[in-house]
Each structure stands twice: as structure tokens, then as C-alpha cells.
């Protein structure tokens, strides 16, 4: 008996098929890797407000958004990550039916609109990044501000970036970079809310989404911050 491809290999195949426009093969690979099955189980376990139909909607929209991102020329080596992230994000949005948020694309920033030559949207997002950068000096902690500059650069380019890469740029360990990013995003969100730029509900949704990355990590992060500050 021959061993079949592993889940990791199937996910790589899915990303490759998506890039080649073979949507059926991508779906087959995701199905064989049990991503669809696992996402349904995880979403139902993690978000109690979902019913079966909601969970199906989250999964389908996640696959749709990730596939669209790849077809629009984004380099998404971690297709699985985007599918999982967008599914969770959609689940969070479903709880707040009154405050509809824009559909999420992967990644959904400047590079996308440069490719599409959509100058209006390009200007809109350029302005949004500019606003975000202007808020950074008010973040109040130098190392957090510097980290956020790096992460916003990545957003502007529409490229994935790892905490290790950011850590190398800043000369700090990977975990510290991750902690600085979390703290920076929380502060940036608060500043934008205080200035009336974004909605109050956004902060809560984002916190819930970030909790998916590393649940129950707040205490650890606080400890690390204290040490670093010292």
C-alpha cells in the first residue's frame, strides 16, 4: 500500500491549482486535506452563534476570497492560512449583522488596486495608510511605533511578512516582534476610534480575530512587555 500525499502537500497542491486557475482541483485538494471538514468543526466549536448554514457560508466565502486573491496575482504560499483566517473573520462578522463590513480579500490592499488600475480606490487606500502612519507617533512607545511602521510597509506592498522577519529588522526576538505588533494594532485601533475615523465595533471584532492566532496569550505578552520596557 502506498502512502498518499500528506495534508501539507495537499495544501501546497491547492495553492498551485488556484494559481493555475484549476478551481476544481483546488477544491479537491482542500477536500482531501480535510480542510473543509476541519473548518466546519472548528468554526462550530469556536463560535457558538453559528448554525450549520452560517458555518457553510463562512467556509465558502473564505475559499472564494482566497481563490480570488490568488487569481488576482497575490503570492499566497499559505493558502490554508488565508482560508482559515477569512472563515473566522466571516464568523465574527455574522454576529454583528447590523454593522456590515466590507468583504475581505486576501490581501486586499494597494497592490490589488494598482494591478486593477483602479485609481479612485488606489487613492482611498493610499490615504488610509497615510492616516494610519500619521497616528503612529501618538502610539507612545518607540519600539511599538517602529514595529508598526514595518507592518504598515508590508500592508502597503500587500505582502505577507513573518514575525521573524520583523524581528530581524528591529533586532528583537520573534516573540517580541509579535507582541509589539499586537500592542501596536490595539493602540492604533484605539487612536483611530478616538478620532472618530473607524467604528467602535471594529476593535472588538479585531480582538476576536486576533485571539484565533494565539488564544490566551495576553498574560504572556504583558509579561514580555514589562521585561522589555525594563
Amino acid at each position: 500500500m502506498v502512502d498518499g500525499p500528506s495534508a501539507g502537500e495537499l495544501l501546497q497542491q491547492a495553492a498551485r491549482h488556484a494559481a493555475e486557475g484549476q478551481a476544481d482541483q483546488m477544491l479537491l485538494a482542500l477536500h482531501e486535506a480535510r480542510v473543509i471538514d476541519g473548518l466546519k468543526r472548528r468554526l462550530m466549536a469556536r463560535w457558538r452563534h453559528l448554525n450549520d448554514g452560517d458555518a457553510h457560508d463562512c467556509i465558502v466565502k473564505a475559499i472564494q476570497a482566497a481563490y480570488r486573491g490568488v487569481r488576482e496575482g497575490k503570492r499566497l504560499p499559505n493558502l490554508d492560512k488565508w482560508v482559515v483566517l477569512i472563515a473566522h473573520r466571516r464568523a465574527i462578522d455574522l454576529r454583528r449583522t447590523g454593522a456590515k463590513r466590507p468583504e475581505l480579500r486576501a490581501p486586499d490592499i494597494l497592490a490589488t488596486y494598482e494591478d486593477n488600475s483602479d485609481s479612485d480606490r488606489h487613492r482611498l487606500y493610499a490615504k488610509a495608510i497615510d492616516i494610519s502612519r500619521r497616528l503612529l507617533p501618538r502610539i507612545g512607545q518607540e519600539n511599538v511605533r517602529r514595529a508598526m511602521e514595518v507592518y504598515l510597509d508590508a500592508v502597503e506592498r500587500g505582502e505577507e511578512i513573518t514575525h521573524r522577519q520583523v524581528g530581524e529588522i528591529l533586532g528583537v526576538p520573534r516573540n517580541t516582534a509579535k507582541m509589539l505588533r499586537s500592542r501596536g494594532i490595539h493602540r492604533l485601533t484605539r487612536l483611530a476610534q478616538d478620532d472618530g475615523i473607524i467604528r467602535e465595533e471594529f476593535g472588538q471584532s479585531l480582538r476576536e480575530l486576533m485571539a484565533v492566532e494565539d488564544e490566551d496569550n495576553d498574560q504572556e505578552q504583558d509579561d514580555e512587555v514589562s521585561e522589555d520596557d525594563a
Binding site: 502506498v2 466549536a45 466590507p102 482611498l124 494565539d214
Partner: protein
């Protein structure tokens, strides 16, 4: 908010969100998804529904985008395409027979220790199971939700919630924090807190075993304890840092079901034959450390300082911040020392023979140390050297049957007849006879206790009340001491309180006699 402003607000939200999304490290969550899918795959019908929806959406998107390649790959009816995908997938499974046979949870190097093979190959339940070893981030190790240890808890959870517990909820169950009926009184049922303290002091002594996807096969309690260290305020940042990484053993991609079963059976059903240190030895270690601490202090620490030092000592010996065990050990060792001193010096017995006896009967010293106030066992033993020596002799000869005999010593202490029986038990060489004498001593003590409380109670009250009634009023002013009068009033108040719950004693409607003040019965 104008349209433009709202659009800009949405764009800023997207920028902030993307700052997270582009850098999100979802390795752990992706592993959970894959693991959940493997363990609980969806039915064909539900899979068909989702795939059909996905095909329809991708088709619509592709049409809007004029994406010819996608439209070609999804040509046809969505339902038919979904059905075809499921069929192909089934064929693929039958052809290969197995999936996911590569490691999705790679071990990592940490502290300059690289992952490597476990040599020699471990054997579990008679099966050679090749293993790798290396470090993993504690938070990335999944607690094992099929652990038989949790069977009742998990079934209870599923029955109530109609779903599987999340990783957090599983941890709560392990820590006794889950709100499950019947468990409210059982805190730390799996002794995870105790284990966490041990890990802080000594590290994880035995590597947990994980599957190739990071699922635990052995070591749920150890990993839960590390989670507790990471999440609890009881531990320092340094403790948390040490618990962040855990050294594990991992199955190889070639592992089969029989390997997994062998590991689970061997580590959960077979005895590891480990014998714990006797409490006598552990208590002595704590006692010696305490003496060292006191010797290093420039002056005798006051009560508060002693409490602080004992807390540090308790943590050092992995007994936690609560000093109950340290205090217990210190008292027990003091009594054991007195016992040994008596037998070595007064009875001139062999030093090591005496120590063996002290070890054997060490738990009895805990009972002896209790009750330092009048009427307590410790008080009796410290008040009368002869009585204490009788008790030590009986203990040495193994004539006490259990610790309950020690508790009764306080009643024997005041009764000469019972003490005589105790001496006979000590001097008797025949073990059967000695036991009879000991039983007599205990019986006399029990009788005295019962008599003292209930025997002749009515007669006593009758005679006392009659005598009290006849007592002339001037006796209160001239003869009775003030302290005795106070004691009498307290006793009468107690009697009144106790009698109030007895029916027929006081007729509430009849009330009390205006002349004598007695209740009208």
C-alpha cells in the same frame, strides 16, 4: 458620517486588519483544523452542500472577472461538479489507503538542542516504536480529548453542550474549572496544580509523547500543568519562560495504529514501578533545610518573617505557596526526634533500628502533634513524661492498631484505670494479650467520655436544680464567688438556648410565671 468618510473609515479598518492578517501566524490553528477534520470528517451530504455552494460562488466570481481558466475548470452544473469531486476523492483514498503520513507538527531546536532520534528505540507493550525527540512550543501542543481519564467529564460536557469542548474548555476540565455538575467540590481532581509546582521546581521530568500532528498521546497532565504555569499569576515571568517550551518525543511518519495503541496502553495501564520516597525522608529533608535557614538568620525570625521563609521553603520543595505541608512536616519531625531520643538514650536501642521504626510509624506523629491546648493529645503527651514514654514504647512495639488509638490517648490520660491498662499493654510480651489490654484502656476511656456527657444527666439536673432552688438568697451575696456566679449564669444561658428547640418544655402562649419567672409548662 458622509459617504466618503465612511469609505475612508472602512479603508483604515482594512489597513489595520491587514497589518494583522499579513503577519498572522496561524500554524497552530491550521493544525487544529486539519486534526479536527481528520478526527471528525463531515458526512457526504454536508460535504456535497458546501462544495456545491463553493463551485457556484467561484463560477459567479470567474464570470464577473472573465477568468476563462476558472470557468473552464468549473464548466457544468455545480451539483454535478461537487458530486464528481467527492467521487474522485473517494477513489484517491482507496488507491492510497492512507493520508497525512508526514509530520505536520515538526519538532524544533531550542537551547542549542536539535531534534533527533530517540536511541535506543523505545519499546511499549512489547512493540518497538521509533521516536524522534526535540522541543515544541507548549501552546502548540494539543491536549488529547480522547484521554480515557476524561471520559466521564467529556461525555458530561457533550451531553450538556451538544458539541465537543474547545481546547480552552478541555484545559478547564483538566484544571477542575469547568462548570460541570458533580465536580464543584472536587478542585484539582487531576492534581494539575500540584504537578505545575513540581514542574516549576524540577522541569518536566518525563517527555510527553505527541503524534505527528502534535496531538498528545501521553502527558496530558504535564502539558496542562505547563499551560497553567503560563496562565496563572502564581508563577513568575521566569517560571513562565521555562514552561513556554517543552521537550517531547514524537512518533515518526511510519507509525501505525498498533504503535499508537502500544504507547497509550503501556503508559496508562502498565505500572512504572516507581516507589515514592517515604514521607519520613521527605519531611526530614524539609526539616533540615528549615534548620539551615534558621541558622543563616542573624536573629530568630518573628512570626511574619517565619511565614515568609516557610513559603519560600515550600515552593523550593515543590509543595506550593501554601505552607500547610511544611508546618506538618516540621511538627512530625520534632515528634519523631523526641521518639528517637527516648529509644536511643533512655531505652539504649540501636540508632538505625529506631530510625526504621520512626519511618514505619511516621504518620502517627502527625496525630501526636495535634491538640497542643488542654484536652488535646499533644498537650497530654507534653504534660507527663511518663505517659509519653508509655506511648512511645507502645508505638515502638507496634502495639497501636491505627491512628484512632492515638486520638483516644487524651481520654486515657485523665483516667488512672485506663492508664493502668495501657501500662499492662506495654509490658505484655504476648501480642494478643497486649491488644486486649490496649482495647480495655480504650474502652474505659470511651466509657468515661460517654458517661461524662450523658450518664445520669436527669438525676444530676434534678438534684442540682433542687439544691439551687433551696439556696438562700444571701448566699449569692456572701458565699458565692463572683467568677462562679458568672459561670453559673453562662451555663444557665446555654441551657436556655439548648432547651428552646425542645418541644413541650416551654409553652409559648402560657409564657413565664410572674412570681418565680419559671416557664409555665
Amino acid at each position: 458620517m458622509t459617504k466618503t468618510t465612511k469609505e475612508l473609515g472602512d479603508a483604515v479598518e482594512t489597513v489595520i486588519e491587514q497589518a494583522f492578517l499579513l503577519s498572522a501566524d496561524l500554524g497552530n490553528e491550521v493544525r487544529r483544523v486539519l486534526s479536527a477534520g481528520r478526527e471528525a470528517p463531515l458526512g457526504v451530504e454536508e460535504t456535497q452542500t458546501i462544495l456545491e455552494l463553493a463551485v457556484a460562488r467561484l463560477q459567479a466570481d470567474a464570470r464577473a472577472r472573465e477568468d476563462e481558466a476558472t470557468l473552464e475548470s468549473l464548466a457544468g452544473d455545480a451539483a454535478t461538479i461537487a458530486e464528481s469531486l467527492i467521487r474522485k476523492s473517494r477513489r484517491s483514498e482507496r488507491r492510497t489507503g492512507a493520508r497525512d503520513a508526514t509530520v505536520t507538527f515538526p519538532l524544533q531546536s531550542y537551547n542549542d538542542i536539535e531534534p533527533g532520534n530517540v536511541v535506543p528505540t523505545p519499546v511499549y507493550h512489547g512493540v518497538h516504536v521509533p521516536m524522534r525527540c526535540g522541543y515544541a512550543r507548549t501552546r502548540e501542543v494539543n491536549l488529547w480529548d480522547r484521554n480515557e481519564r476524561l471520559e466521564i467529564h467529556l461525555n458530561q460536557f457533550r451531553a450538556r453542550e451538544d458539541r465537543e469542548p474547545t481546547a480552552d474548555e478541555l484545559l478547564d476540565i483538566m484544571l477542575g474549572l469547568a462548570d460541570l455538575p458533580g465536580l464543584s467540590e472536587e478542585s484539582d481532581q487531576f492534581e494539575v496544580k500540584k504537578l505545575a509546582r513540581s514542574i516549576v521546581a524540577n522541569g518536566v521530568q518525563k517527555a510527553p509523547i505527541v503524534d505527528i500532528d502534535g496531538t498528545l498521546l501521553d502527558g496530558n497532565r504535564r502539558v496542562a500543568a505547563c499551560y497553567l504555569i503560563l496562565n496563572s499569576n502564581e508563577y513568575t515571568a521566569e517560571d513562565k519562560k521555562r514552561a513556554e517550551w517543552i521537550f517531547v518525543w514524537q512518533l515518526t511518519p511510519q507509525a501505525r495504529k498498533e504503535h499508537r495503541d502500544a504507547v497509550v496502553v503501556a503508559l496508562n495501564f502498565e505500572d512504572d514501578c516507581k516507589v515514592k520516597w517515604p514521607e519520613y525522608v521527605k519531611a526530614r529533608k524539609v526539616y533540615e533545610a528549615w534548620q539551615d535557614i534558621l541558622a543563616r538568620e542573624p536573629r530568630t525570625p518573628n512570626a511574619r518573617e517565619q511565614a515568609k521563609l516557610k513559603k519560600a521553603l515550600s515552593i523550593k520543595f515543590a509543595l506550593g505557596p501554601n505552607t500547610t505541608t511544611v508546618n506538618r512536616y516540621l511538627k512530625m519531625v520534632e515528634w519523631a526526634d523526641t521518639f528517637e531520643d527516648h529509644h536511643i538514650n533512655a531505652r539504649e536501642r540501636d540508632l538505625y533500628e529506631v530510625k526504621h521504626r520512626a519511618n514505619k510509624y511516621f504518620q502517627y506523629f502527625e496525630e501526636m502533634a495535634k491538640g497542643v491546648n488542654p484536652g488535646g493529645v499533644a498537650h497530654c503527651l507534653t504534660q507527663d513524661d511518663t505517659f509519653r514514654e508509655i506511648v512511645f514504647d507502645l508505638l515502638y512495639e507496634g502495639k497501636f492498631r491505627n491512628w484512632r488509638d492515638i486520638r483516644q490517648l487524651k481520654e486515657i490520660f485523665d483516667n488512672q484505670e485506663a492508664r493502668d491498662a495501657l501500662i499492662k499493654a506495654r509490658d505484655e510480651t504476648d501480642s494478643g494479650e497486649a491488644e486486649n489490654h490496649l482495647e480495655s484502656a480504650m474502652a474505659i476511656a470511651r466509657l468515661q467520655r460517654a458517661e461524662a456527657r450523658t450518664l445520669g444527666v436527669n438525676t444530676r439536673i434534678e438534684s442540682f436544680t433542687k439544691w439551687l432552688d433551696d439556696l438562700p438568697a444571701k448566699a449569692y451575696r456572701e458565699s458565692i464567688k463572683a467568677e462562679n456566679l458568672r459561670a453559673l449564669l453562662v451555663a444557665l444561658k446555654t441551657a436556655e438556648d439548648n432547651a428552646s428547640g425542645v418541644s413541650g418544655v416551654v409553652d409559648e402562649e402560657a409564657g413565664f410565671c410572674d412570681n418565680c419567672g419559671r416557664p409555665r409548662v
